[in-house]
């Protein structure tokens, strides 16, 4: 049968181009969900990578046991540090207080955190700050390090004096001076300012002070991480401000999914769009079969068996969906790998990386759509009684 391939290919090609609009729309109906799948999975993968990076930092997050919205007293820091006075296993403890904020007359929300300036550098080494940046940070109480994505969005640069209206007390404009745009950090959205300066501002306006939203505790090893996770909570057990200590990956995962379970929702969205693609492709293949019932009946009368009829419908469906899958997977891959689209200052887009493995999975999924979509019409072709089909046409 090998030598018979060319006519089979010709027949296959002509069948696919018999109704170019229908074929094109079907491929597009597969390409679009595959594109959504690829982008969704890229976001999910990005989130997973973010969590994995968090896990690599060997940090613990300490929050109020009752809820993250209840603050912890800043005095907890000394008590946590006291668990390892030599600082060989517990490298640093950094208090963080959420500010959020926005520019005056600009509704765009900012992600700003006030941190203990003396332990921030040791606690977050992944920011890879230069000596000049560290020096400016330690010297200037009004120092703020802004994420490079935020800086580009706002048109900020190092040396600029900026004002931020905080989302929390004292609800008064606070002035900062930019000392870094965090060019080497993975996180390019968050802004970091000094908590001692915030405390001054809070006191100035009589707002509650001396609290942090959570602590980040940097450990020396994974064993230390496990050890202090229990030790910290034990330290504050029975006190007015009991703690809940989690490794950073678990904390981030809980924090993000409590607000909006993006990975789960994106996975559901991707699954739904793939289901839509299956329905669209099934509809097309059913119409293709219905339009060519006489042809399949004739082929069967010539001696082509049920297996041929089955493979004919299946192959057409596979090819249509393969084209859709290739387009759907390659367009986002090319866009986010080789074009300047990633320069757009939208955090989600800037962090998006389309892994080749995701594209391969997507094409595999498109092929699966093709197989599933053609199952019913192919089965009808197998079951079709030649005599009945011919009689209905004569």
């Amino acid at each position: 049968m090998k030598l018979a391939l060319p006519l089979r290919l010709i027949y296959l090609y002509r069948n696919l181009t018999r109704n170019p609009l229908r074929s094109g729309l079907t491929s597009a109906a597969v390409a679009l969900p595959i594109m959504i799948y690829v982008l969704s999975m890229a976001v999910v993968d990005g989130f997973e990578n973010f969590l994995d990076n968090s896990a690599r930092q060997l940090r613990l997050a300490v929050t109020q046991r009752t809820s993250i919205i209840n603050p912890l007293p800043e005095g907890h820091r000394r008590k946590i540090e006291a668990l390892d006075p030599e600082k060989t296993r517990l490298i640093s403890v950094c208090g963080l207080r959420y500010i959020g904020g926005q520019r005056e007359n600009d509704p765009m929300p900012l992600s700003t955190l006030a941190v203990d300036h003396d332990t921030f550098i040791a606690s977050f080494p992944e920011h890879q700050l230069t000596d000049e940046e560290v020096d400016a940070w330690l010297r200037n109480k009004q120092a703020i390090m802004v994420g490079r994505g935020t800086a580009r969005e706002m048109g900020w640069k190092v040396g600029d004096r900026i004002t931020i209206f905080p989302s929390v007390p004292p609800y008064k404009l606070i002035e900062f001076q930019i000392v870094s745009t965090l060019e080497n950090a993975q996180d390019f959205v968050t802004n970091w300012c000094r908590r001692d300066y915030l405390e001054e501002e809070l006191k100035k306006y009589g707002a509650p002070s001396g609290n942090v939203t959570f602590f980040f505790v940097k450990c020396a090893s994974r064993e230390d991480l496990d050890h202090f996770r229990g030790a910290i909570d034990a330290q504050f057990a029975g006190s007015l401000d009991e703690t809940r200590t989690l490794d950073e990956k678990t904390f981030m995962n809980e924090f993000v999914t409590q607000q909006f379970n993006l990975p789960r929702n994106l996975t559901i969205l991707a699954a739904l769009t793939v289901f839509v693609a299956v329905m669209a492709a099934t509809n097309t293949m059913s119409m293709n079969f219905r339009d060519r019932t006489n042809e399949v009946a004739t082929l069967k009368s010539l001696g082509f068996g049920s297996a041929f009829a089955f493979s004919l419908i299946q192959t057409e469906s596979l090819l249509l969906c393969a084209v859709g899958g290739l387009v759907g997977a390659s367009v986002p891959f090319v866009l986010f790998t080789y074009t300047p689209i990633r320069n757009i200052t939208i955090p989600l887009i800037q962090t998006l990386e389309i892994a080749p493995s995701t594209c391969i999975k997507a094409v595999g999924m498109a092929l699966l759509i093709g197989i599933v979509a053609a199952l019913w019409p192919a089965w009808l072709a197998v079951r079709m009684k030649v005599v009945s089909a011919l009689r209905s046409l004569e």
Binding site: R14, T17, T298, G303
Partner: protein
Amino acid sequence: MSTVDIELRKVRKVYFKDRLEIPVLEGLDLTIAAGEFVVLMGPSGSGKSTLLHLIGGLDSATGGSVRVGDAHLEKMSERERTAWRSRHVGFIFQMYHLVPVLTAAQNVELPLLLFSMSSSQRKERVRTALEVVGLSDRADHRPNQLSGGQEQRVAIARAIVTDPDVILADEPTGDLDAKTSEEILELLNLLNSEFGKTILMVTHDPRAASHGQRTVHLDKGVLDREELNPARPRGAAAMVS
């Protein structure tokens, strides 16, 4: 040149529609000699096409036996009948049933995909078949570029390209004008007389029937009568049992 005889014994065929039993053939006996050109006539619903389908292995009899050459079709599975049909039977339909996206030559080549032969062998077979039906110059035309008569010629070429023992034609001129019909019938005559093909043709048209050596009339699923055509005497004996 290959040819076989056909023998049907007490053939019954019953269809079921909405659980109702509809008898189409009721104990039919028929023998067709090798190389004979037999015409089947009868009113609508008399079982002509059903008989053709049983002989061609497209359908199976409810009872009785259908033998074509050495093949006892009633003992064969659908898969076996399909494989047998590709080698021993050529079908010609009233509506031609050509594949519209393929050229005439490609349509004729289609049945050869079921045979193990080289591309050049297939091309040679296709060329010969198209020559026989007088359409060598239309090999690269698609069905929509051909007249009805030419389309039927392509269908005949497709039916003979595998050199089948039997040609089964279901109202092959039913959709053609008188002049074209005559040409098609002459072509069938040629296949019978020159190439020795056993031909069984269903028709409503008495003029078409005059091209056969024998006309068998069916009525209500049984043989009503038969007529020999003196203008076309046959070499081999054939009989209605």
